[in-house]
């Protein structure tokens, strides 16, 4: 690399100030990931409060008002402050490395995006210390629940303002994710050679740029309703609460894919490396990502079947169609593993866990895309189980796969395998114990967002199972934290490619990479430049 230069002025090189003023994509990526994991721990604690409250009927550990705040903050933190931002962090770290670039296209914009995201998250939680408490209208803040008559406290305002900040931050970061791989690719890294993870981030960036501005608009309208008497969503004054749902879900469904596409990329990378095979159907995987992204822009109203105000057949049909490109991805992952020399290190275990869980989430999603089923399951625990299987069993498992897989690259130390396996076992068992019973609770009629239930409903045993599962997930998370501490203590020098089969360019530089990423780039003549570098005997095969 030749044309990168020193910073324009001398600032702190180490210590906390260096992190505050950094514009280095790797440090910003780490900041994003650590912050999002911090929010995950808080959201996880809130989930434990929910499960403690629901473990048995007629409990009063938290009252109804506090319970509303707890589930609102839990959902908000998991969706807006953990899953999607972790993907942004990973992409910040990996995109320049995977395409052989020294930096993101707009480093200062990148830093701005992170700090605005952090301030947005803190603003959301600042509501906790205000009179009246935090927001309590759910993570969707539907009108009229979020209007000033029902949610009068400043906590709801802070919630709206905080998420407006994270929305602006997301748009800024998407600009970087889109421009960098299109313009900054190293010589030889044609678009059809960039790794699948980076392709998934391009599709994600397009989705963000289409979907996040409507969210900001919806929030601006909510604030105008709350503070100027605009009455956009007040039916008594000619407004329409269904309008809010339209705008929110025009963001909300693409947001689901903002939370899953990056992790499809993670699973593709992990499965190929631990199957010791090239990715099967590279072009199909890329096209499937764009098909999913495109279709997801036309399915928002499947969240609104029960309003009776949308064209159910159109939105049902479009929602069914998403299963096709998603199925292509599953097929390609299985075909990648087929006859491979599979090894079951922790990242691979989490990748397989992802596939099993996401399959359940996906199939139940197809069920919910059918209006007759949706009319029965809407706002029941069936729905809760479905989206936890996609975002918890799916995205969260992929996040753990990514953590174990790229931890050596980021921190220069491998996470302990034995503790990793214990972590996986606890998470997989705990997750299914927590969320599988919720499908049955939903079918039995348990509605979401209730803070307690009568003993005669017969939901006690299944709820207890869910709560035991949540406890196992908490223990599993503690094992992960312990693993990080232990593994960082016994750090040893690692080769560029500690897994021995890495194929994308990040595995052709040191662990962790130097400033501006590469001391020297290898020739890029195929989709697997790092593999070609480390295994020249097979290079001709991958260049075919």
């Amino acid at each position: 690399m030749t044309a990168v230069t020193a910073p324009p002025r001398e600032l702190a090189k180490s210590g906390i100030v260096a992190w505050l003023v950094t514009t280095d994509h790797k440090r910003i990526g780490i900041l994003y990931m650590l912050t999002s994991l911090g929010f995950f721990l808080i959201a996880g604690f809130l989930a434990d409060v929910i499960r403690l409250q629901l473990a048995a009927p007629q409990q009063n550990i938290v009252g109804p008002a506090a319970y509303n705040q707890v589930f609102t903050l839990h959902g908000t933190a998991m969706i807006f402050l953990f899953v999607a931002p972790f993907g942004f962090g990973l992409a910040n770290y990996l995109i320049p490395l995977q395409i052989g670039a020294p930096e993101m296209a707009f480093p200062r914009l990148n830093a701005y995006s992170f700090w605005l995201f952090l301030l947005g998250g803190l603003t959301v939680f600042a509501g906790v210390v205000t009179q009246g408490g935090a927001a309590s209208a759910g993570w969707t803040a539907f009108a009229p629940l979020s209007d000033v008559r029902v949610s009068a406290g400043v906590g709801q305002d802070l919630w709206i303002l905080g998420l407006t900040m994270t929305s602006i931050s997301g748009i800024m970061t998407a600009i970087n994710f889109l421009v960098t791989p299109i313009v900054f690719r190293a010589p030889g890294m044609s678009m059809w050679r960039i790794p699948i993870f980076t392709w998934e981030m391009i599709a994600t960036a397009l989705l963000i740029m289409m979907a996040f501005p409507p969210l900001t608009t919806a929030f601006a309208m909510l604030l105008l309703d709350r503070h100027t008497g605009a009455r956009f969503f007040d039916p008594g004054s000619g407004g329409d609460p269904v309008l809010y749902q339209h705008i929110f879900w025009f963001f909300g469904h693409p947001e689901v894919y903002v939370m899953i596409l990056p992790f499809f990329g993670v699973i593709t990378e992990v499965v190929a490396v631990f199957s010791r095979k090239p990715v099967f159907g590279y072009t199909g995987l890329v096209l499937a990502a764009f098909a999913i992204a495109g279709l997801s822009m036309g399915v928002w109203a499947h969240h609104m079947f029960t309003t009776g105000a949308v064209a159910n057949p159109f939105f049902a049909g479009m929602s069914f169609l998403i299963a096709v490109p998603t199925g292509i991805k599953f097929f390609n992952w299985i075909a990648t593993m087929w006859k491979g020399a599979i090894s079951f290190e922790t990242p691979m275990l989490f990748a397989i866990g992802f596939m099993l869980n996401f399959l359940i989430g996906g199939i139940t999603g197809v069920m919910l895309a059918s209006p007759p089923i949706d009319y029965h399951a809407e706002d029941s625990y069936f729905l809760i189980a479905h989206f936890h299987y996609t975002l918890g069993g799916g995205s969260m498992f992929a996040i753990f796969a990514a953590l174990y897989f790229w931890f050596p690259k980021i921190w220069g130390a491998k996470l302990d395998e034995r503790l990793g396996r214990i972590h996986f076992a606890l998470m997989f068992l705990g997750f299914n114990l927590a969320f599988l019973p919720m499908f049955f609770l939903g079918v039995m009629g348990m509605p979401r967002r209730v803070y307690t239930y009568p003993a005669q409903a017969g939901w006690g045993l299944l709820n207890l199972s869910s709560s035991i599962g949540a406890a196992l997930i908490t223990i599993g998370t503690a094992v992960l934290v312990w693993n990080v501490i232990v593994s960082l203590r016994k750090k040893e020098p690692l080769p560029d490619d500690p897994w021995g089969g890495g194929y994308s360019l990040e595995w052709a530089t040191s662990c962790p990479p130097p400033e501006f990423n590469f001391r020297a780039l290898p020739p890029i003549r195929s989709k697997r430049p790092a593999f070609d570098l480390h295994h020249p005997e097979y290079a001709k095969d991958s260049q075919k």
Binding site: P8, R9, P107, Y112, S190
Partner: protein, 124 residues
């Protein structure tokens, strides 16, 4: 650049196709226009990439270029700048201030302009 242009063009075609399908299914104008605009937005980017196709040279498009050339045409990068975090604080102050305290918004707005000026100075 041709591949990027094709990505945006196919997204345009997809958006327009979905828009047409929606209209045929529902005969509803608002959603049709919304979905059509989603396709048209991509057409704008595809058009821009088409216009600059001969002028913009991207290293990555050189399939057999030596890797040592990487970065030569990319430019200068700063590893540190104090202004992004200040700008983020100003943005947060402005947004919170507009709703909760006008004086905070006013001060944040002034600070935001000063910060933007400093960012421009630092960048040139």
């Amino acid at each position: 650049m041709n591949t990027a242009m094709r990505v945006f063009l196919s997204s345009t075609a997809f958006g327009l196709g979905v828009s047409a399908l929606y209209w045929l299914t529902t005969h509803e104008n608002v959603g049709t226009i919304l979905l059509g605009l989603f396709g048209a937005g991509f057409a704008f980017v595809a058009g821009y990439l088409f216009v600059i196709r001969g002028k913009a040279r991207v290293d990555g498009d050189e399939q057999r270029a030596p890797a040592e050339l990487a970065g030569e045409t990319i430019g200068v990068f700063s590893l540190e700048s104090p202004w992004p975090i200040v700008l983020a604080c100003c943005t947060a102050g402005l947004l919170i201030g507009v709703v909760l305290h006008p004086m905070l918004a006013f001060m944040a707005l002034i600070a935001l302009f000063v910060t933007l000026w400093q960012l421009v100075r630092e960048s040139v």
